[in-house]
Symmetry: C2
Subunit: 595 residues, 2 copies
C-alpha cells in the first residue's frame, strides 16, 4: 500500500519552492496551485492503483532473460501502456513534441510518486527522460523529427549507454568504437549496466551510446555520442530491421529486480548502425547537459523509496502490539508506536524526508528559473544554486535514504528480515541510488572540486548569501528564531570550512578530495535545516488561523527534532574537514593490505 | 577469499585484553600466547579452506524445505562433520563434558573467524552454544548426562525456541502450553524464527522451548523452560521415535540464506514430549543466564562480517584500475585505492573494526574473570564491566557493522550491487545482526534501564572509573596524550549525560527510554576510542624496538583517524541525550499517521 504524500508535495511546492515564481516564467503561465493539485491527485491515484500493487510481485518475479529476449514482470506491460496513455511520460517536455510543457518543479513532484510506488518500474521513464533531453538539446532537426516525438510519448524508450567493463565512473576509458561509413557509423563494443537496455514494453528502443572514432583524441575529449536504434527502418519506412546490437545477459542484482539491467554487445556481426549526435568528440559535453536532471531525479528517487519505507513502518508500528507502556507496566499491551524508541525511529525518518523533499523541489524550481528567467541576474543566481545543490540532492538524499530505509526495516524487528513483509525490498532497492548516476564519491568530487576549488568559492558564496537572505524573512516566533540562530552559526562554520578547503587545495589537490564527502554532508545538514526551519516558519503563520491542523503542528515538531538531532552533525563534519585530510592522504595504500 | 586476522586477534588478546590475567584464573592455567597462536592458526586455516569457500554458494543455493524436511546447502554437512571432528564445537565447555575448557576470551577470538568465514554456517554452533549453557547451568544431572555431552561434541545441536507470532521481543506474551503428564510435559504451540530449528546436519536436535503451564502466573513470571528433543528414545534406548514437533516451513529471508530459519509446530498430534529444566516459572531467568554470551557473540558476528566485507573491498580497491591520480592527471590510470575518497572509505571501516574487535575480547576476558576470579572485588568489578559492555558489544558492533558493510559495498561501485561480486551478500547477511538476540532498541533499554536507572548509575560509575584508571597507564607520547585528553573530556560528557538521564528518569520513565539509543552509542564511541588509543599506546612502545613494523604504524594512524572522525560523535550523541527526549515523548502517535 502506498499513499502519495500529495498534501506535503503541494505544501513544499507552493509554500517553500516558489511555485508562483515558476508560474511567472515565460512558457509556464498555465501553472497554478490548482493545476498541481489535480496532477498530484491523479498521479497519486495511478501510483496507488496501478504501480504500487505490482512493486512487490515485480521484485519476486524479476525481469527475465530467455532466448536472447528480455521479459518484464507480469503486469509491467499493461501498466506501461496505461502510463503512456495517461500522458505521464511527456510531462516536462515541449508541447510541440507532444509533451505537456510543465516545469521541472511539477515533474519532480510527480517523479517522487512514481519512484515511491515502484522504483524498478519508474526507472524506465526516468532513463527515457534523460535520453529525451540529450536528443532534444543536441540532435539535428531530422533526428528530432525521427525519434523525439516517439520518445516523448513513450511509444519508444531511450537508454543511456555509458559504462563498459573497464570504464565505470571513468568515462575517459571508454573503448567502444565508431567507424564512419557513409552517412552513419558502425558501432562495436560492449556496454554494461544498461538500465532497461532491453525490454518488451515498446516496439523499439533508442540507445544513446558513447563511443570513440578511430582518430579521436585520448580520454574524455575523444568521446562522441550516437543514436543506435534497436530496430532500423526497412525500405518502406517500417522499423523492423534488427540492428547489430545484441542483449548478452541481464544482471543478477541485489534489488530493483523488476528492472532489466542489460549487457549489450554492439557490432558482433559487422557493426551496429549509429547516427552521430551533434559533432564528433563532444559526446561527454552533451551527456553533461542531462546530467543535472538525471542526478536530481536520482536524489528524488532515494528520498521516494525512503518515504515508501516510512509509510510501511508507520503502519506496522501502529498495528503491531508488543510489550507494555513503560509508564504503565501493569496495563495492557500497546502498539509499538507507543514505545519511545519506536517513536524516535519514525521521527528520525520523518524529520529528514520532508526537508529533503522540499529541497529537491526548491532545486527543481531553480532549474526552471535558470532555464527561463528573464532577469539575467536571477538566472545566474538560480544557476549557481542549481550547480551547488545537484550533488547534494543526489548525494545526500541517497545517503540519508540508505539510513532511513534501514530504520524502517528495524522497526519491523525480525519480520523486517523476512522478504514477505516488504521492508527488505526497499532496503535492497535503495542500495543502488548512492551508486548510479555518479557515486557519492563522485558527487563529493563535484561539489568540492568543480563547484568550489575551481571557482574559488564564488558559486558557494552566492548560494550561502541567498540562503542567509532567506532566513531574514522567517517568523519571529521563539522556536523559529532558535533555529535561525543555529543556521547562522552553521553558515559561519560552512564559511570557515570553505576557507580551509581552499587553503588545502593550494597545498595539495589530494587534500580537498579527501574531505569532499564530509563537505558534501555539511552542506546537506545545513540546507535540510534551512528547509526544515522554513517549513516550520510557514506553519507558525498558518496555525494562527487554524490552530488545530496537525499537519502544521507536525512541521514545527519535526523541525525542532531536526535541530536537536540532525543539526549537531554540523560540528561533526566540520571536525572531519579540518582534521582528517592529512591523515587520509598520509596513508600508504599498502597499509590497507589484508594480512 | 578470507584470511583470518590472526595477528590482530593475537595482539588484541595479549596486549589489550589481558590474556595473561585470564591464564592466571583457576582452571585456565594451560592458556598461553603460544596456545592461542596455534588455535588461531588452525581456525584460520579451517575457515579459509573449508568454511569460506561454501559461503557464497550457500547463499545462492540456500537451505531448502521439501517434504517436511530441511536440506542444508551443498557442502554444509561435510563441513559440519569436519568442524565437530576438529573439536571446535566444545571449545569453551567443560573438559568433563568433552569440551576443551578454554576461556571465553579464546572462544570469542575463534568465533569471529567462523562468523567472518561463513556467517550462515557459524550460526549453528553459535545457537548450540547458547543451548549448552542453558542446559549446563540449570538442567538436572540426569538431563546433563543424557544431552550435554552430545551437544558439546556437536553430535546433536541445540536450538532456542523463544519467539511466537505474537511474541517477538515481548516474551511475556508467550502462549505455548505445557501440561504435566507423569514425569514429563506435553507441549503445544507454534514457535517462529527458530534458527537451525530443523536441518540435516545431525541425527537429533535438542529444542529448548519456553512455554507456560496451565496455572502459571501471567507475563514473564509464568514461563518455564523445557527440553524437547526432535527424536525420543525407544524401549531399547535408541533415539528414533519422532516427537510431535513438526517443521511447518522455513522463512524466505533477505540474508543468511544458508541457515534454515524454521517455523515449528508443537503438539499438532496430541503434544510433544518435553522435560522441564529446573523449576517451573523460572524459564526466563534461565534464559538470561545465556543471554550475555549469546549477545556478546552476536556483536562479534556483526564485526566479523564487517571484517570480511572490508577484506573484499580492500582487495577490490587494490585491483580495480579507474581514473587518474588527482595530483597527476596526465599520468596513467591508477588503482582506485590511490583515490583519497576510497582510502577514506577503507580507513573508516578499519578504524572501527579493530577497536570493536578488542572491545569484544576485553569483554570476553572480563566474562572469564567474573566467572572465576578468586578476588571478590575483582570479580565484582569484572561483572559490572560485563553488564555495561554486553549491550554495547551487541548493539554498537552490529549498528556500526551495518554502516561498514555498506561502505565496503560502495567501494565496488555498480559491481557492488551485482550479486556475483559478493559484497551484496555481506550487506544482506549483516542486516539481521542488529535485530536478533534483542534489537538495538532492546539493548538500549537494557543499558539505560536495567544498567543505569535501576541502580542509580553504580555499575556505570565503576566502569568509568576502571577505564579512567587504565588511561593513566598509557604512553606519554604526544599523539597518545592528545587521545587521552579527548577521552577524559568524553568521560565528563558521559558523566553529565548520566546525571541528566537519572534526572529525566525521576520525571517520567519514558524520557530515558527515548534517549536510550544515543546513550548506548555515546558509550560505544567512547569505549572504542579507549580501545583504539590503547592499541596505539602499545604500538608506540613496540615501535621503539622495531620501527619498521607497519602493523604498529597502522595502529597509530588508524587511532588518529578515529579521534578525528569518530570521536566527535560524542558531542552529537550528548546533544541528543540532552535535548531530544521531551520532543519524542511529546509526539502523539497520530502525528505519524500517513495522510
Amino acid at each position: 500500500m502506498y499513499i502519495a504524500p500529495t498534501r506535503d508535495l503541494l505544501f513544499a511546492a507552493t509554500e517553500l519552492a516558489d511555485l508562483q515564481g515558476v508560474a511567472a516564467l515565460p512558457g509556464h503561465e498555465e501553472v497554478s496551485e490548482e493545476l498541481l493539485q489535480v496532477i498530484l491527485d491523479e498521479a497519486g491515484k495511478f501510483a496507488s492503483e496501478v504501480l504500487a500493487p505490482i512493486n512487490h510481485s515485480g521484485d519476486i518475479q524479476g525481469a527475465r532473460f530467455s532466448d536472447g529476449k528480455v521479459i518484464t514482470p507480469d503486469g509491467w506491460k499493461e501498466a506501461y501502456h496505461q502510463f503512456i496513455e495517461g500522458g505521464w511520460n511527456g510531462l516536462p517536455f515541449d508541447i510541440d513534441r507532444g509533451g505537456q510543457g510543465l516545469p521541472w518543479l511539477v515533474s519532480a513532484a510527480v517523479q517522487e510518486i512514481w519512484c515511491a510506488a515502484n522504483m524498478a518500474f519508474g526507472l524506465c521513464p526516468l532513463l527515457n527522460q534523460g535520453a529525451i533531453e540529450a536528443v532534444g538539446s543536441h540532435a539535428s532537426e531530422e533526428q528530432k523529427a525521427t525519434y523525439l516525438n516517439k520518445m516523448v510519448s513513450g511509444k519508444w524508450t531511450g537508454t543511456m549507454n555509458l559504462t563498459e567493463p573497464q570504464a565505470g565512473s571513468d568515462l575517459g576509458a571508454v573503448k567502444t568504437k565508431a567507424v564512419k561509413k557513409g552517412e552513419s557509423y558502425l558501432i562495436s563494443g560492449q556496454k554494461i549496466f544498461i538500465s532497461y537496455g532491453d525490454h518488451d514494453l515498446t516496439e523499439n528502443i533508442v540507445h544513446l551510446v558513447l563511443a570513440r572514432t578511430p582518430d579521436a583524441p585520448e580520454g574524455v575529449k575523444g568521446i562522441s555520442l550516437f543514436i543506435v536504434p534497436k530496430f532500423l527502418q526497412d525500405e518502406n519506412g517500417n522499423w523492423v530491421v534488427r540492428n547489430d546490437v545484441e542483449t548478452l545477459s541481464i544482471e543478477h542484482k541485489m534489488g530493483i529486480h523488476g528492472s532489466p539491467t542489460a549487457v549489450l554487445g554492439y557490432g558482433n556481426n559487422g557493426g551496429a548502425v549509429g547516427y552521430l549526435v551533434g559533432e564528433e568528440n563532444r559526446g561527454l559535453m552533451y551527456m553533461f547537459t542531462m546530467m543535472n536532471a538525471a542526478r536530481h531525479t536520482t536524489g528524488v528517487q532515494g528520498n521516494a523509496v525512503a518515504e515508501r519505507a516510512y509509510q510501511q513502518a508507520a503502519r506496522f508500528a501502529a498495528d503491531r502490539v508488543q510489550g507494555k507502556a513503560i509508564e504503565n507496566l501493569m496495563g495492557d499491551r500497546v502498539a509499538i508506536i507507543e514505545h519511545p524508541d519506536v517513536k524516535r525511529l519514525l521521527l528520525v525518518q520523518k524529520c529528514r524526508i520532508e526537508p529533503l523533499r522540499s529541497l529537491a523541489l526548491f532545486t527543481a524550481s531553480a532549474m526552471d528559473k535558470a532555464a527561463r528567467h528573464l532577469d539575467e541576474q536571477e538566472k545566474k543566481r538560480a544557476q549557481a544554486f542549481v550547480e551547488i545543490m545537484i550533488p547534494i540532492v543526489k548525494g545526500y538524499s541517497t545517503e540519508l535514504g540508505l539510513e532511513n530505509v534501514s530504520l524502517a526495516l528495524q522497526i519491523h524487528g525480525g519480520m523486517g528480515f523476512i522478504e514477505e513483509t516488504g521492508a527488505a525490498q526497499y532496503y535492497r532497492d535503495q542500495r543502488i541510488t548512492p551508486i548510479y548516476e555518479g557515486t557519492t564519491g563522485i558527487q563529493a568530487m563535484d561539489i568540492v572540486g568543480r563547484k568550489l576549488v575551481r571557482d574559488g568559492g564564488v558559486m558557494a558564496a552566492m548560494t550561502i548569501d541567498m540562503i542567509a537572505e532567506d532566513l531574514s524573512s522567517f517568523s519571529k516566533d521563539d522556536r523559529i528564531e532558535k533555529m535561525v540562530t543555529s543556521l547562522r552559526v552553521a553558515i559561519v562554520e560552512l564559511q570557515s570550512s570553505i576557507a580551509h578547503i581552499l587553503k588545502l587545495a593550494a597545498e595539495n589537490p589530494q587534500l580537498p578530495a579527501a574531505v569532499g564527502e564530509p563537505y558534501l554532508k555539511l552542506w546537506g545538514v545545513f540546507v535540510c535545516g534551512w528547509q526544515s526551519a522554513k517549513a516550520a516558519s510557514v506553519a507558525v503563520g498558518k496555525l494562527v488561523d487554524d490552530s488545530d491542523d496537525i499537519f502544521y503542528q507536525n512541521k514545527i515538531d519535526t523541525a525542532r527534532f531536526y535541530f536537536s538531532t540532525e543539526m549537531p552533525k554540523v560540528n561533526y563534519y566540520v571536525s572531519m574537514i579540518h582534521t582528517s585530510g592529512e591523515l587520509i592522504v598520509g596513508m600508504d595504500s599498502a597499509q590497507f593490505a589484508v594480512n
